[in-house]
């Protein structure tokens, strides 16, 4: 099985920004909306290249969502991006009605996902966005694992998908490890390592941490299968059921509240189709806080060593 290596750290937000730019180069209907943090969410790549197609909306996120809907209803392909705490939570009603109920093709960016936002603290760490976005009818939810995949997924979301799409990405530099042998296929889970003891279902840059955990466990003769789920909605039920049926237990790993998020989505699939021992790793119904990204990930049990330990615990209970 392939050994995954980090080709260099890069923020997934840069992958998103590059994706918007590439999509816009080949699709003249693409327009962008910025709400004063254009550079912070990497929309500046697009805005600098296509200033006439970029709309500055000020610090007014609710209006920006409606404007995006109006642009989409007029044949444009709007990309609206801001921190996930705003695009998914402050704007929840606007996204629900003006975008989802109208089923318009707007790509909503959810930046600064997870605790790894770091020193800005709880207000800016999006930890509930998956839960809200995945319950909205027509909405599709994508959570790429690195900058490479973020770029691919963003291009696909803009130029190939229809209707509302939420693309989630982070602030910090994280390992960039995907390559052209593992192309982004919308709605398809990716098995990154084989193993028959436990499955790690992971999303976002937690997939890298899950890979680290699987390396640690390999030395202990524990086979951990890592399945990267970049499309949280529609979720790849078949791949989840298959992996769960071929391993003894399941861990889900996400930078999000364990309630209602990615782990819940996996649990829903398994509870209805393939009852399995399952534990969710994520934020335990608590707000985040300030600190260095790595410190926070360690504190909340989100790094490879933590995941490996959880795996040992769950497997020991099954002996």
């Amino acid at each position: 099985m392939k050994k995954w290596t980090n080709k260099g750290d890069k923020p997934t937000r840069h992958g998103f920004g590059e994706g918007v730019l590439e999509a816009a180069k080949i699709n003249s209907s693409v327009v962008g909306l910025g709400v004063d943090i254009t550079g912070s969410v990497s929309m500046n790549f697009f805005a600098d290249a296509f200033p006439e197609r970029f709309y500055s909306m000020g610090v007014a996120e609710q209006n920006a969502v409606g404007v995006a809907s109006g642009l989409a209803l007029s044949g444009k392909t709007p990309v609206f991006s801001t921190y996930g705490v705003f695009s998914a939570l402050r704007d929840a009603d606007q996204v629900r009605i003006s975008i989802c109920y109208n089923n318009v093709h707007v790509v909503v960016g959810g930046a600064h996902a997870g605790i790894s936002v770091g020193p800005d603290g709880a207000t800016h760490q999006a930890l509930e966005d998956i839960a809200v976005m995945r319950t909205l009818p027509h909405m599709k939810v994508i959570s790429p694992c690195d900058a490479y995949q973020a770029k691919e997924a963003t291009i696909y979301a803009i130029n190939e998908l229809d209707g509302p799409v939420y693309v989630r990405f982070g602030r910090e530099k994280v390992p960039n490890f995907m390559d052209e042998n593992y192309p982004f296929e919308f709605g398809k889970a990716q098995v990154l390592t084989e193993g028959s003891d436990i499955t790690f279902f992971s999303t976002g840059h937690m997939t890298w941490e899950a890979l680290q955990a699987s390396e640690i466990l390999k030395n202990e003769n524990i086979g951990a299968r890592v399945v990267n789920i970049h499309t949280i909605k529609p979720i790849d039920k078949a791949a989840i059921i298959k992996a769960a049926s071929e391993t003894r237990a399941v861990l889900t790993v996400e930078e999000h509240q364990i309630n209602g998020g990615f782990g819940s989505a996996v649990a829903e699939v398994l509870a209805e189709n393939q009852p399995t021992w399952l534990k969710r790793i994520g934020m335990p119904d608590t707000f985040g806080e300030s600190g260095q990204p790595r410190e926070l990930m360690e504190k909340y049990g989100l790094v490879g060593a933590n995941i490996a330990q959880k795996a040992r615990e769950i497997l020991s209970r099954l002996k």
Binding site: Y55, I97, N102
Partner: protein, 278 residues
């Protein structure tokens, strides 16, 4: 110049729309009567005089857009669309019923032609209208975007974000009509949450403000004619309407915001509407 006979014709259309609004609401057994009756003249003017549209080709690219932000006045909107020929009037009697294309608040996915936006959560329509106006400018299109807002709706902060952005982008292809009936569900707007000075507020956000007697057809037409001449800024028409216009029991009574006529009241209400017009 609008002729006397044209105005008389539009008044009779408005009466027909009021009658059908009342009938559909009574049949539905729920819905918003007050605002619907108050806006019948504005809707008549829009669909029978002002808007450049084609009921037989509702997706015509160059049509003027009418965004109904206050989705709760759907009954008068539907009655107007039917009167204009978007669908058969008999369908009005399915309002709010299971399987109907006439949802309680307009929903595009149910397939009724002529709906530009699914709306009903207040404070969102003007933002969408701004987006449509920006797109029309970008594509160098000549069509206009009209948005019907409520005065109570202006208490939503998001509306002021939209107002700010329309002023910023100098959207002279955007016209908002505010149904200034001065009442809302909890009572008079001045008591629930005061809005004045409304004219000055819009002006300070870079809008052209026009005031209009919203139940006076001649005045409505004259105001729209002026509004479409505004350059380099958006226009708002503060339309002073009477909620429940045409029915004495309803006029100006906020308790009629979200109440339908009972079936035994219908004949009397229809007669009043018809008599008021004659």
């Amino acid at each position: 110049m609008v002729t006397f006979s044209k105005i008389e014709q539009l008044k009779s259309v408005a009466t027909e729309i009021r009658v059908n609004t009342l009938k559909s609401l009574a049949e539905a057994g729920s819905g918003h009567t007050g605002g619907s009756l108050g806006l019948a003249d504005i809707f008549t003017a829009l669909y029978f005089y002002v808007l450049n549209h084609d009921p037989k080709n509702p997706k015509w690219e160059d049509r003027d857009r009418l965004v109904l932000s206050i989705g709760h006045v759907a009954p008068v909107f539907y009655a107007t669309l039917a009167e204009a020929g978007y669908f058969d009037k008999s369908e009005l009697m399915t309002l709010r019923k299971l399987g109907s294309r006439l949802q309680g608040h307009p929903g595009r996915e149910h397939g009724l032609p002529g709906i530009e936006l699914s709306a009903g959560s207040l404070g969102q329509g003007l933002s969408v209208a701004v987006g449509m106006a920006l797109a029309a400018k970008a594509d160098k299109k000549q069509h206009r975007i009209f948005c019907v807002n409520g005065d109570g709706e202006l208490q939503e902060g998001s509306v002021w974000e939209a107002i700010m952005s329309a002023g910023h982008y100098q959207l002279d292809n955007l016209i908002s009509i505010v149904d200034r009936n001065r009442v809302q569900i909890d009572g008079p707007t001045s008591e629930v949450m005061g809005l004045e000075p409304l004219k000055e507020k819009f002006e300070s956000f870079g809008w052209e403000v026009m005031e209009c007697e919203g139940n006076n057809m001649e005045h409505i037409l004259r105001t729209f004619a002026l509004a479409t001449k505004t350059l380099a800024k958006p226009t708002v028409i503060l339309a002073e309407t009477t909620m429940g216009k045409g029915v004495a029991e309803i006029e100006g009574d906020y308790r009629w915001h979200g109440k339908p006529p009972k079936k035994d009241q219908l004949e009397s209400f229809i007669n009043q509407v018809k008599n008021a017009a004659s």
